[in-house]
Symmetry: C2
Subunit: 139 residues, 2 copies
Amino acid sequence: MVSFSLHTQLAADTSLIGRLSGCQLLLMNDARYPWLILVPEQDGLRELHELNDKTFHAVTDAIKSLSASLQALTEAPKMNIAALGNLVPQLHIHIIARRHNDAAWPGPVWGVGTPEPYSEDERQVLLATLREELSLDAT
Amino acid sequence: MVSFSLHTQLAADTSLIGRLSGCQLLLMNDARYPWLILVPEQDGLRELHELNDKTFHAVTDAIKSLSASLQALTEAPKMNIAALGNLVPQLHIHIIARRHNDAAWPGPVWGVGTPEPYSEDERQVLLATLREELSLDAT
């Protein structure tokens, strides 16, 4: 097991959905967009290309699967996939369902407006739905 | 050979560096950032997850290799990788070298300011350098 602790900013902004493919899958606490974040559980990573080939394939296969699932679940017309990390250096991949009337369309979501946190009820229902749809558990 | 024609907006904004892994590799004509765009040569694609598994692996392996090469070549402290497509629907993947003093740092580059085209000399030198570093030819 390699060492890992989630960046404090990611921990503050998200809830854990579950684990897959050596990653934590997080839900961004922003009701404006269905927004997943995938974080490989290995300290010190900054760039997608720093993953070794085996882990890279596991992570990218997870991105493919999660993007397809989130688009099917939300019926969103567009997905945005990105590894940026300009502000939070720990490697993390955004998987975001976009709608033509969302708060940032057609621009990117980062840095636009103010996050709108889910209510506690909404958050728990959404986490349960995502865990069921993605066949994950929260441990 | 599947049908393919490059989206007119991508054609207008870029120069062809070469082809690899069933994709066109393009140089964005914006001297503010070293900015590659990878476009799978298959009409009708909109989302990364729509690629079949074999093509997905070829494309993501190319992203990994190009990101590592562009970071090594530019010595940029950060890479940004993204498949957005909110404005140009044809599937294309951005591979951008970011610096702490670039025109958009630490925000994303899309929609920020006005592109600064390369001079014709700069563009030709950069294309030749990229073709050599990436072992591509322009055909």
